[in-house]
């Protein structure tokens, strides 16, 4: 079976079947990733369509030394961010300024484990969805890429175009935020 990168090279040489195969391979994943950003199913579907069209148009720029997944998720991220900006014209300035704290990543402690009662609750999924909504979209993307896509921090850093330490520190902060939120909701009822 050809790798994603081999298919991308074939698609670059105007092989439409190769690109169709890539669409089939990544449809669910790009949709899930876009959903993590947009938190809206219809918007995520629109963003998914747009992502694949943009990827097809930009195929000539695809560097075969890079991972196709990283390249495609970077396009998906930009597409989702554009849609978010259209919906919410105010930038996420306060949260974006946190990028500068990336160098502290190595000194931050690992996030504490979740209390068992927070895990056992029946409505965990919906509470987690609500908690995720409170995160910056890029932090949600870090969570999605790390836990849904099993990408390394290095790959995530490449996808998001941010230093790896920034990604690590944002990941830890996001987990802390989610932990606090889930525990709080658990205690609150």
């Amino acid at each position: 079976m050809p790798t994603d990168e081999e298919l991308a090279i074939a698609a670059k040489a105007l092989n439409d079947d190769a690109f169709a195969e890539l669409v089939r391979r990544y449809l669910r994943r790009v949709h899930g990733f876009s959903y993590r950003y947009l938190l809206d199913r219809a918007e995520a579907e629109e963003a998914t369509q747009e992502t694949f069209v943009k990827a097809w148009r930009a195929l000539h720029r695809f560097d075969q030394k890079r991972s196709f997944a990283t390249w495609l998720f970077a396009i998906a991220r930009n597409t989702a961010l554009d849609r978010l900006k259209k919906k919410h014209p105010i930038p996420f300035a306060a949260l974006q300024s946190a990028d500068g704290e990336g160098d502290m990543a190595e000194t931050l402690a690992d996030p504490e484990p979740l209390p068992p009662e927070a895990l056992d609750a029946a409505n965990l999924a919906s509470r987690l969805e609500a908690a995720l909504a409170g995160l910056h979209p890029d932090d949600r993307a870090i969570i999605a890429l790390h836990y849904d896509e099993h990408q390394t921090f290095e790959e995530i850093a490449e996808t998001l175009g941010k230093p790896m330490n920034t990604v690590k520190s944002r990941h830890r902060r996001a987990l802390g935020f989610l932990r606090d939120n889930l525990t709080l909701h658990q205690n609150g009822g």
């Binding site: 669409v23 995520a44 069209v53 987690l128 836990y147």
Partner: protein, 133 residues
Amino acid sequence: MEQYERVFAAARPPEPSGGLEAAVFARLQAARQARARRQFFGGAGILAASVGALVPAVQFLLSEVAQSGFAEYLNLAFSPNVLIYWQSLSLALLESLPALSGAAVLASIFGLLYSIRNMIISSRAAHLNMRLG
């Protein structure tokens, strides 16, 4: 971290609707057709410009050849004594070469060929898309 993986597994994003794949392919098809159209009309524009530029470029070339004496020098290249004065003749040929008009004619010809090639490719793509679509 495993604990968090279990937590996130509980909140997987929703599955895409059944029609999403078809919608993506439809958008790609539309983008392909738009590109083929752009290439075709772009090619047609270059073709028209090349044909329009070729006639004055050839006229310019002919007048430059006549004025520079290039044709006469070229005739001398076929004379039997060419081996005696080939160095000065080469220099004279180079000096009298109508470079500007020659470049204009070549550019028009290349433009013409490039636009024909592009139009053939885009027509084929459009035809293929129509058959597939």
